[in-house]
Symmetry: C2
Subunit: 370 residues, 2 copies
C-alpha cells in the first residue's frame, strides 16, 4: 500500500479511550497531523514513548501522532478540528476545559453528542465567556466500533457506512462537512443538531432493556446483550420507547427514522420486530452484556439521552411516559436521582424558548425574544 | 391415627384451584362438613364422582366433601363459613355471585384478600343490595402452600405457623376468630382489614422483581424465582418497595412488619438483606420462576396489591414513587393499563373519606360525615 500523502488539516482528539484511540490512530494512518489530549499522565506518556497508535482489525497500521498531552493549550494550538471523543457525562467538564484555549476558525466536533452534546458545549462556552469564533457540530453516533487492547493499541471492529452530522447553527453544516469529509467521506448532513441528538439510539436500546435485564446482568453468566437481552417483551418495550423518540422529533418537524429502519440500514438486520432483527444479525452475537447495573447504559444514556428527550417532548405534549418510567426506575436501582446532573432544557441553553424559537436558534444560532 | 370427631361448623369453599382444593380437602380430613363451589362443570363432576379430595404432602388423607356444585345457592345453603379461595381478580365477580345467596349470621372469609379484599366484598354486597347480616373478614395470605396434581388431588407443601386475620368491622374480629380457630388455631387477630391488606407481601416480591427479571422469564431457562431472581439490586429494590408499604401503613397508625422480619418469622430466613435471606432459605430453592410475563405476579399483584397501596398512600402523602413506576412499567410490558379494573379507593368503598373516617369505618363499619 502506498504511503498516503501528508495532509494539511490538523486534528486534536480529546479523549484517550476506545473511541479516541481509534480516531487518532486512524487519522494518523490517513496521514493527517494529529495530537491527542487526555487527563491521564500514564496514557499520554505511553503514547509519546510509542510515537503513535497501533491499529488492528478493520483498519490496520501505525497511526503516527504529533504528540499526546495533558496540556489543553498545547493540544489545541494550531488544530483545525478539535474532536471530542469522550463519554457524554464528561462533556460539560471538557467544555469548561476547552473554553479558554479555543481560537477563531476552529471546528469543535462532538463525536458523538449523545443527546444535546453540541448544544451543551455551546452553552458552556458562552457561560465561560469564550469569545472565539468556533463552529460547533456533532455526530449522531460514533463512527467506529472499537476496543482498546491496551494503551497505544486499539482494535477497530467496524466503521459505519454513513453517519449523520450537523452544526449549530445548521446553516453552517456544509462548512463543517467540507472539513470532516476530508477524512470521513461517509459523513452527511442532518437537518440540525436536534436531529443528530434525537437519532441517538443508545437511549432506546440501553436503559430500558438493561433495567429489564437486571437479574441477567447480576447472574454471573456470560450473556449476549442483544441476542439474550432483547427478548420479545423487551424488544417490544424498546420499540415503544422508540415511538416516543419519534414523537419528540415530530414536535420539531423532524421525520426521524424508526430504529428498525436504522438497523436494516446499518446491519441489513432482517425482521419484523426489533427482537427478530437483532437475533437475525450475526454481528450482535459478539456483543456481551454488562455484569453490573451501574454502567454507561444507565449512567450516561439516561441523563444524557432519555432525559433531554423527555424535556424536549414536554414543549409539545409528546407522550414520554415510558421514558419517564425508565428514568425513574434507573434511579431507584442505582440509588440516585438520574435527573440531577442531566441534560435538562436549561443545560442545553433552551429554557424558556418555544418550539419555533428553538428551531430558529438551531438554524441561525440566534436567540430572539418571541 | 384416630378418626377425628365429626364437627358441626359447615364450610363452603368458593374456588376449586390449588388453594380451594387444599382448604376443602384439609377441612374434610379434619372432620368438618364441607362443600366446594366452582364454575367449571368438569371440576365439580370429578369431585362429586370421587366424593372428596385426595391430599398429599404436609397433610395426608382423603377429605370427604358433602358435595361440589356450580350452584351458588346450594353451596351457601346451611354454610356457617363461606371461604373464598380464589385469585383477587375474580373477587368482584364472586362477590356479585354471592350477593343474592348469603344469609344472616354467615361468615364470609376472604382467604386471602390480597389488598382490600374484604373492603371490596363489603362494597359490592352493598351495591348489590345484599341485606344479609354477614360478618366479612380476610386473611393476610393463604395459609397453605399447595399445588394441584390434578382435579381431586392436591399436594400441601406446607402451612403457615401463624396467620393474621381481621374482620370489617374490626370490633368483630374476635367473633370471626372464634369460628376460624376451630379449624385454624394459628390464625390470630390483626388490628383491622387494612393491616391484613397492607401485610400483602406478594405486592412487594412479585411485580417489581418480575419486571426486573423480564429477560430471565423469557429466556426459556429453568430458573428459581427467589434464588436467581432476587439478585442484590433486585432484592434492594424490593426492600425499597417494602419501605413504601410501611409508610402507607404508618398513615393509618399501623406498625407493619418489614418484609425481612416476616421472612425470619416464617422461614427463619437468615440474612441482613432480602437477597441474603432468600438465598439462605432452602425452601425457596424449589420455587421456579414463571415462563411468561403475563402471570398473576403482574396481572393480580399490581391492580389488587400495589394500586390500592398507592391509592391509600395518597391520603397521607406517603412516598409511593417506586410502586407507581412498577405499576406503569407492568402496564407497558403487558400492553394494558393495569390501573383500569384495579382496586382504587372508590372500589374499596373509601373514596371521599379522610384517614380518620377510614379508621372509624374499619373499626365500626359505619361511615359518618366529617
Amino acid at each position: 500500500m502506498d504511503q498516503p500523502k501528508p495532509k494539511k488539516t490538523c486534528w486534536a482528539v480529546i479523549g484517550g479511550g476506545n473511541g479516541g484511540h481509534a480516531t487518532a490512530g486512524h487519522l494518523g494512518i490517513m496521514g493527517f497531523p494529529v495530537r491527542l489530549y487526555d487527563i491521564v499522565e500514564e496514557t499520554v506518556d505511553k503514547l509519546n514513548e510509542q510515537g503513535g497508535i497501533e491499529v488492528e482489525g478493520h483498519v490496520k497500521g501505525f497511526g503516527k501522532l504529533e504528540f499526546a498531552t495533558t496540556d489543553i493549550k498545547k493540544a489545541l494550538d494550531g488544530a483545525d478540528i478539535v474532536m471530542v471523543v469522550a463519554p457524554a457525562i464528561a462533556h460539560k467538564a471538557i467544555a469548561k476545559t476547552l473554553a479558554g484555549s479555543l481560537s477563531d476558525g476552529q471546528i469543535l466536533f462532538i463525536h458523538p453528542g449523545a443527546t444535546g452534546g453540541a448544544l451543551e458545549f455551546k452553552k458552556v462556552l458562552e457561560d465561560e465567556g469564550c469569545r472565539a469564533d468556533v463552529l460547533i457540530g456533532e455526530a449522531m453516533s460514533l463512527i467506529y466500533a472499537a476496543r482498546l487492547a491496551e494503551t497505544g493499541r486499539v482494535r477497530i471492529l467496524g466503521m459505519k457506512g454513513e453517519l449523520m452530522v450537523a452544526a449549530i447553527p445548521s446553516n453552517k453544516t456544509d462548512s463543517l462537512l467540507e472539513k470532516l469529509n476530508e477524512a470521513y467521506p461517509m459523513m452527511h448532513p442532518g437537518k440540525n443538531v436536534l436531529q443528530t441528538s434525537l437519532e441517538n439510539l443508545n437511549a432506546v436500546v440501553h436503559p430500558g432493556p438493561s433495567i429489564l435485564n437486571t437479574s441477567m446482568i447480576e447472574s454471573g453468566r456470560d450473556w449476549k446483550y442483544y441476542w439474550d437481552g432483547l427478548t420479545p417483551t423487551i424488544g417490544d418495550f424498546a420499540e415503544q420507547i422508540d415511538r416516543e423518540r419519534l414523537s419528540v422529533g415530530k414536535i420539531f418537524g423532524l421525520g426521524l427514522k424508526p430504529i428498525l429502519e436504522w438497523y436494516v440500514l446499518e446491519y441489513s438486520a432482517d425482521g419484523k420486530t426489533l427482537t427478530e432483527a437483532v437475533r437475525n444479525t450475526k454481528a450482535y452475537g459478539s456483543i456481551k452484556g454488562p455484569e453490573r447495573v451501574d454502567t454507561r447504559f444507565l449512567l450516561e444514556d439516561i441523563p444524557m439521552g432519555l432525559l433531554p428527550m423527555v424535556e424536549l417532548g414536554k414543549l409539545g405534549g409528546a407522550d414520554t411516559e415510558r421514558m419517564e418510567a425508565v428514568i425513574a426506575m434507573g434511579g431507584f436501582l442505582l440509588g440516585k436521582d438520574l435527573k440531577i446532573g442531566g441534560r435538562n432544557l436549561e443545560r442545553l441553553g433552551l429554557d424558556g424558548m418555544s418550539v419555533e424559537e428553538i428551531n430558529l436558534y438551531l438554524e441561525t444560532g440566534k436567540k430572539q425574544k418571541a
